[in-house]
Amino acid sequence: MDSLGGAGLSAFPNDPKMQIMRQVQQEAAMQNARMLVEKLNEHCFERCVPKPGTSLSKGEEGCFTSCMEKYMQAWNTVSKQYVARIQRESQQGALGAGGL
């Protein structure tokens, strides 16, 4: 399945198989983005706006920017660590991470 990279998917725009594959991938990317936005809002609002005022202050906005950067960096760290671990465990042929 390695041949199905982005270039492979756009090479045959009218192929029904490729169309479905592209739609599935878009839907997955969309879902992923939605989840990230939800988490960013949840965490950063809680930390940056402890007492909501009449408008967002400059300080709160600055906190949001830092918080988003930090959260996304944390997401990438977790992603690397998690993927490395499940790869290691599936190579060992052990139980893997199927329980999650």
Binding site: M1, L4, P16, K17, Q19, I20, M21, Q23, V24, Q25, Q26, E27, A28, M30, Q31, N32, M35, L36, K39, H43, C44, R47, C48, G59, C63, T65, S66, C67, M68, E69, K70, Y71, Q73, A74, W75, T77, V78, S79, Q81, Y82, V83, R85, I86, L95, A97, G99, L100
Partner: protein, 95 residues
């Protein structure tokens, strides 16, 4: 993007797809759902570990510092260790 969750393939004539392509699609969807499951786990883990590793209150710096970064990594590993303990214990109880 006007694709609702169930509308994938609705504008595609499925009868034009060969059996071989259908099998390939099945495998593709299987792979994609596994990827989606993994990503969903990553979201959950980031959520849990961010709470534990990044001290409460206003956030001043946009980067993870030298305590937070290892904490996030350890949090992932210990969470998975703990997950394994739960599975093993349940397995033991089942016997």
């Amino acid at each position: 993007m006007d694709l609702g969750g169930s509308s994938i393939g609705s504008n595609v004539d499925l009868s034009k797809i060969s059996e071989r392509d259908k099998q390939e699609l099945q495998q593709f969807v299987l792979n994609e759902s596994q990827k989606a499951r993994i990503q969903s786990s990553i979201h959950g883990l980031t959520d849990t570990c961010f709470r534990k590793c990044i001290p409460a209150g206003t956030i001043k710096k946009g980067a993870l510092d030298k305590y937070e970064e290892p904490c996030m990594r350890q949090c992932v590993d210990r969470f998975l260790d703990a997950n394994m303990v739960v599975l093993k214990e349940l397995e033991r109880l089942r016997q």
